[in-house]
Structure formats: structure tokens, C-alpha cells
Amino acid sequence: MADSKTTIPFRQAGGPQGKFAATRMKFYIDVKRCIECGGCEVACKNENNVPQGIARIRVVTVNEGEHGETNVAVPCMHCSKAPCVAVCPVDALYHRPDGIVSLNKETCIGCGYCLYACPFGAPQFPKGSPFGARGVMDKCTYCAGGPEVPFSERERRMYGSNRIAEGKLPMCASVCATKALIAGDAEEVANVVRMRMAARGSGGGAWGWEQAYGGR
């Protein structure tokens, strides 16, 4: 059980000692809370009119039906050192100032290199033509739209909704019933993680199956 005397360091989104730190928007998936409801998948597809065959977020289940079954939602993780950005030959993938890894579909040539570079399988391609040529890449945009005029029909058609510009969080995190999927600035997300870890106990037991619902 948690030690009530433990002080949990809490950092502001503005960074240590009040100094400004660049925003880094991140996802965090608490695998001990994910119940594989699929709400995030449905919400994403509905909000962004995701093409058929593409899953911008998907729930992966390990040890299904057995003791220790674990579910984890896997969207684009918007890595700080994104391998997809590193390998894209035409710089169609880029980091936004807020840390979101964004895609320019006008520039993308559909080579598929990012698909292999990504450890999470985030980049995906729609069904190809009869000659095997695939379209341009599609992936989770963090509900931040794309390099088009915000809220324009073109942006919506090509990239989906732009909730970030409205000051909202991605749809998947917004609808997550158990708050297994949380999104926001990395510092704020880290604060949530620290509080959950403190509530569940210390060391390896913090992530034990017994702690998922028995502790906090």
C-alpha cells in the first residue's frame, strides 16, 4: 500500500522553477486500466473520418483470456526523436513546436519507409491500386489536423478534426472511460503517472496485476 508520508514531486507544465519549457504533447497508456472497450478506436474513426482499413489507434491484447491479460492502446506515440521523421526522404513528417509529429500528405510519396521505421506501426496506407501502388500515408494526428488552414474543409477531409486548435485533447483520450489513455503536456501526464504510481505502491509491485484494482 502507499506510504502516506511519501512526498510526490509535482511539476508545473511551465517547467521547473517556473521557467518556461517547450510543450511536448504526449500520450500515456496505463495498461492496468485499459479494459479493451474499443471506445478509443470508434471515437477516433468517427471524429476523423478515418479511411477504411486504417486504424489510427488500435488496442493490442496480450495473453488474451489468460491470467495476466493486458490491453494497451497503440496510437502514434509522437516520439520526441521520431524515427519516422528521421527516415522520411521528403520531410513529409515533421515535429511541430508542441511536439506533435505531423504529416504533410501533399509531400508524402507513399514509399512506406516510415511504416518500417516506426516501432508502433503507426503509419498506415490505404488499399493500393491494381498495380500495387499504395496511396499516401495516414496516421494519428493527435487530433491536430494537418498543414492546412485550421478548421477548413480541406483539412478535415485530408487529416480529420483539429481539436488541438480548439484547446481540446484528442478524442480517444477524451472518451476513455477508465482514463487508461491520457493525453496532454508531458509534464502534466508525468504528474498523473507519479500520482498513480504512489497510490499503487512502490517498486515492481506498482505494476503488479494485484495492484491494478486491489490497491487504488
Partner: protein, 338 residues
């Protein structure tokens, strides 16, 4: 700590990638064989005739490589215009565009000089200068895969050399195949093919031996799990070679095992090696046996690319839950772990 290995089988259902890797390596190997034969042909004229056959035969192979390379793109026209659109030089695809773009003119110009039978001095100069470019083309195909980073099977340490060797092996095989089949159609004396094929068979033995050694070294490296246990890796948890043993098992014992052992090792390397014996013992059947042998090596070369590409479905294991991920900028909290 559990780990998840994400598979991406949807991607690898296309044959385009293995085909352009194979044809690209084959074209470069054929060019190098033609260049070397041309230089040897200064003293031994029949090798000069072999060089002509192989150099010209390399052109349709190069065209096929280019076709499969660009046809799988979502925007093929931008692939052709890569000097304009490829701006990220950190990417091996951009670097490779220049490798292909610089090697291809050598291969085409060399074949053109043979076709028109002019300027032998310039032709041999192109051969000498072009050999490193051809080798670069073969190696680049391995570096392209190795640059992906999170695919344990695609080792930057082994794939470039393996693909170079395979390119040369298939180049020698294609040279022999061309000599056996095309020689009479080019109005060359047929008896000139047999000694050339014999020398190519000897060269093939050496190349097959090298390739077997490299495959053994590569698989041993993967099986040793060079990335260490997941819990022991302090940083770079998702970077290959983490998960190498998983990839090794997938290739040698899993779904790809029949293609690896049967296609690459058996059909592509050991059976051709075994056929060398009757080829040299039964002279009457030497050319037909050699033709079959060279064809098997070509099949094995394609199988190598096919297995490597499909083996790339296995990504580096993702350690969920991320209990060893440090919270950025925060020292470990006493009593709460890392």
C-alpha cells in the same frame, strides 16, 4: 516485465519490395561480373564475349528493378524526380536515390558501348570506375533496410555485406545463365560457352561458400541476442538489435523457416553446390546441369530478399508496462522505484 512484439503482416504482402531489392542487386552484380570479365578479356578473348552478353542482359534487369522500385510508390513521379523532392539526407532512401542515380548511368553507358561495339578503351575505363558504384548499389539495398532501426532482423552490421555478396553470387549465376542460353542467339561460337561456364561455376563455389559463412555469422549474431535482456538495457529500449533472438527464431524456426532453409539454404545454395560435382564429372551434360544450377541460385537470391523483407514484420519488442521508462528530468523517487 512483459513485452509486446508488434507484427505488421499487412505491409509485406506486396512483392514489389523483395523484387526491386533482388533485381537491383542482380543488375549491380551482373555489371560487376561484366566489368571484371571485360578486363580479363584483354588477355582471354572469350571472357570479353561473356562480358558483352552479361552487360547487355543487365539492362532489362535494371529496368525491372526501376519499375518495381517506383511502381510501389504512392507518387512514382516524385521517385523519378528525387533530386528535387528528396531533401532529407539523414534518410537512407535519399542517399540511396543518389547511389542508384549514379550507378545506373554506368550500367547503361557500359551496355551501350558493348551494343554498338565502339570505344573499348572508354568502355574498360567505365568498367574500372563503375565497379565501386555497382558495389554501392548492391550494398545500399541492405543499408536501406538497416536504416529502419526498429526491425531486429534488418541489421545494419550484416545486411549490406550480405546483399553485396548475394548480388555478386546472383550476378555470377546470371552471367552463367546468360552464357548458356543467349550465347547462340548472339551468333557467338557455342563451344566458347562451355569453358566460360566452367570458370563461372568455380567462381560460384567461392561465392556460395562466402554467402553460407555470412548467413551463419548473421544468424549466430541474431541468436546471441546482442541487445541484451530488455530489463538490462538502460536506454534505447526499442532499437535493434533488441529482439534479435525473436527475429532469428521467426526466420529459422517459425513461419519463415521453410523458405529460409528450403529456399535460401537448400535451393539457393546447397543444391547448386551439389550440382557442381555432376557438372564437372559428366561433361556431356555440363551446360544443361550448369543452367539448372544457375537458375536455382537466382531463385535462392530472390528468396533471400523475400525472407528478409517478410522477417521485417517482426518489430523490436515493446516493454509494456513501461516501468523502466524514466520520467523526464526527475530523479528516481525513493521508495517508488525508477
Amino acid at each position: 516485465m512483459e513485452s509486446i512484439v508488434l507484427m505488421q503482416t499487412k505491409w509485406s504482402q506486396s512483392l514489389h519490395v523483395p523484387l526491386y531489392l533482388f533485381f537491383g542487386g542482380l543488375a549491380s552484380g551482373m555489371f560487376i561480373v561484366a566489368a571484371v570479365a571485360d578486363l580479363v578479356g584483354i588477355k582471354v578473348p572469350r571472357f570479353g564475349r561473356l562480358s558483352r552478353v552479361v552487360a547487355i542482359a543487365a539492362i532489362p534487369i535494371l529496368v525491372l528493378a526501376g519499375f518495381f522500385l517506383t511502381s510501389h510508390l504512392g507518387k512514382p513521379e516524385r521517385g523519378f524526380a528525387f533530386p528535387v523532392f528528396f531533401t532529407n539526407y539523414e534518410s537512407w532512401m535519399t542517399r540511396g536515390g543518389w547511389v542508384v542515380g549514379s550507378a545506373s548511368p554506368f550500367i547503361v553507358a557500359y551496355a551501350a558501348l558493348w551494343w554498338f561495339g565502339v570505344m573499348p578503351g572508354l568502355r574498360r575505363t567505365l568498367a574500372v570506375i563503375g565497379i565501386p558504384f555497382g558495389a554501392g548499389l548492391a550494398m545500399y539495398t541492405g543499408a536501406l533496410l538497416g536504416g529502419a532501426g526498429f526491425v531486429p532482423l534488418w541489421s545494419m552490421k550484416y545486411l549490406p555485406i550480405l546483399f553485396l555478396n548475394s548480388g555478386l553470387t546472383t550476378g555470377v549465376a546470371a552471367a552463367g545463365f546468360s552464357a548458356a542460353l543467349v550465347w547462340p542467339w548472339l551468333r557467338e561460337p557455342r563451344e566458347g560457352a562451355r569453358p566460360v561456364i566452367a570458370w563461372l561455376s568455380v567462381a560460384l563455389i567461392v561465392m556460395i561458400g562466402l554467402e553460407l559463412f555470412e548467413l551463419y555469422s548473421f544468424m549466430t549474431y541474431l541468436a546471441s541476442e546482442p541487445g541484451g535482456k530488455l530489463s538490462a538495457a538502460p536506454t534505447g529500449l526499442f532499437v535493434a538489435p533488441i529482439g534479435s533472438r525473436t527475429a532469428y527464431e521467426y526466420v529459422t524456426q517459425g513461419a519463415l523457416a521453410p523458405w529460409f532453409w528450403g529456399g535460401i539454404i537448400g535451393v539457393g545454395l546447397l543444391v547448386p553446390l551439389a550440382l557442381t560435382l555432376p557438372e564437372f564429372l559428366v561433361r556431356r551434360w555440363a551446360v544443361p546441369i550448369a543452367t539448372v544450377k544457375f537458375a536455382l541460385v537466382l531463385i535462392g537470391g530472390f528468396m533471400l530478399r523475400w525472407v528478409i523483407v517478410h522477417g521485417g514484420d517482426v518489430k523490436a519488442p515493446l516493454p509494456f508496462p513501461p516501468q523502466s521508462w524514466p520520467v523526464p528530468g526527475v530523479p528516481p523517487i525513493p521508495g517508488l522505484g525508477g
